[in-house]
Amino acid sequence: MASVRMRAKKQYRKLLKRVPEHDDVSHLNITPMMDMMTILLIFFLKDFSVSADNFTLSEDLTPPRSASKVEPKRAVQITVTRKAILVEAGDREEQVAAVKRGQVDSSVKKEGQSGYEITPLMAILQKHATRLKRIEQLTRGKQAFAGEVVVVADHATPFRLLSEILYTAGQAEFGRYRLMVLQGASPTAKN
C-alpha cells in the first residue's frame, strides 16, 4: 500500500512538472494606472488645446516680466520678434513684415517712414476682423467680436514699433490690446 502511495506521489510530481508555471508578472494589475494615465492625458490634451500661448521663447522673442496676474485669453495674436512681425493664420503664424534694428521698412508703411500704418499687417487684421464678424453673425451674437488682439513682443522692442502695431490694429477695428508677459516681477523691479 505504501509503495503504491509512493509510486502515485512520484508520478504526481513527474506530471506536475509538465504543468506550466504561473507567470506572476502577467498578474500585475495595471488597470488603475491606465485609468489614471488616461485621465491625465485627456486633461493635458484639453489644457493644451485651449492654451492661450502659441509661441516659443527664443533669443529673438522674450516677453518682458510683469507682476500682472491676469489670465491669458485667446484672441488674434500678433507676435513681434527682433526680426519679424507675425500674425496667426489658421494653425500657423504668417510673417507680415521684416524688422531690422527695431523698425519695419518704410516701403511697407502707408505713409512712408513717418507713417504709423503697416500695410500688410492692416490687410491681414482686416481679414481677421471680417472673419470674426461673420462668426458673430452666424452665432447670432453668441461669439461677439470683441476687437481684441494679443501682442507678444520681445522685451527690447522700441515703443515706436509697438505704437505702429497698436495703431494699425486700432485701424483694423481691434481697439483692445492684451500684452503677453511672463509672470513674475523683474529682478530689478524694486528699484
Partner: protein, 221 residues
C-alpha cells in the same frame, strides 16, 4: 485489492493533475488579454511631454491696455462744459530719455530723473552681460529708471487730499502712458506695473492699487 487501491490512488492523482492543468490554463487565459504595456508607454511619454511643455503656460499673464478714444466734438460745446470732465485727473506718465514726467489736468510735476545716468542725463535701458560667480556670461537688463520714486509720486497723487480733507482722486483709475520712440518695451511694461500697483476690485490707493486702467498713447515725438 492492491490493484483496486492502485487504481483509486492513480484516479486521485489524475484528478489532481487535471485540476492543476485547468488552473494553469485559466491563468494562461487571463494572461492572454490585450497587451496594454505599449499603450501605457505611449501614454506615459505623452503625459511627460505635456507636463514639460505646460510648465511655460503657467508662467504667462496678460496686461490689458486700450487705445485712446477719439470722439467728434459736438458743435457749440467744449470738453470743459462737461461737469464729469472738469475734475478729471487725466493722469499722463511720459517715459523720456532722461526719466519720467507726470502730468495731469491740474499740473505737471517736476521730472523724475534716473537713478544712474549716462551722458546728458540719459537713462540706461538696454540688455547687458556680466560674468556670474562661475565666470559664465549672464544677460541682464541695465535699467536706470527710478521706478521707486515714480511709485511714491503716483501714490501721493492717488491719495491727495484737498483743503476740505477729502480724497480728490481716489476714484480715478485711468492713466495714460506715452513714451519716446526708442524706449524699450520692457521699460514700458515696468512703468505700467508701477502705475497699476497690485490690482484690487476697488483700487483705492491704500490697498496697493493705484491706476489700473492703462491707456497706451502714441509716442512723444
Amino acid at each position: 485489492m492492491s490493484s483496486t487501491a492502485e487504481r483509486t490512488a492513480f484516479a486521485k492523482v489524475r484528478a489532481r493533475i487535471r485540476r492543476h492543468i485547468a488552473e494553469a490554463e485559466e491563468a494562461e487565459h487571463e494572461g492572454g488579454e490585450i497587451n496594454l504595456v505599449p499603450y501605457l508607454d505611449i501614454v506615459v511619454n505623452t503625459v511627460m511631454f505635456m507636463l514639460a511643455t505646460s510648465a511655460l503656460s503657467l508662467a504667462l499673464a496678460n496686461v490689458n491696455v486700450s487705445a485712446p478714444r477719439y470722439e467728434e466734438p459736438i458743435p457749440g460745446s467744449s470738453a470743459s462744459d462737461d461737469p464729469s470732465n472738469k475734475d478729471a485727473l487725466n493722469l499722463t506718465v511720459g517715459i523720456t530719455d532722461t526719466g519720467f514726467t507726470i502730468g495731469g489736468s491740474a499740473a505737471i510735476l517736476p521730472k523724475i530723473p534716473c537713478r544712474t545716468q549716462l551722458r546728458q542725463g540719459r537713462c540706461p535701458a538696454y540688455l547687458a552681460t556680466k560674468a556670474n560667480a562661475k565666470g559664465e556670461q549672464v544677460v541682464f537688463w541695465m535699467d536706470g529708471y527710478n521706478y521707486r520714486k515714480l511709485e511714491e509720486k503716483i501714490k501721493e497723487i492717488k491719495l491727495f487730499k484737498d483743503a476740505a480733507g477729502n480724497y480728490r482722486f481716489r476714484n480715478e483709475r485711468q492713466a495714460i502712458i506715452t513714451a519716446d520712440q526708442h524706449i524699450p518695451y520692457n521699460v514700458v511694461v515696468r512703468t505700467m506695473d508701477t502705475i497699476r500697483g497690485g490690482a484690487t476690485a476697488k483700487c483705492t490707493g491704500d490697498d496697493g492699487c493705484y491706476f489700473d486702467q492703462v491707456i497706451l498713447s502714441a509716442g512723444v515725438q
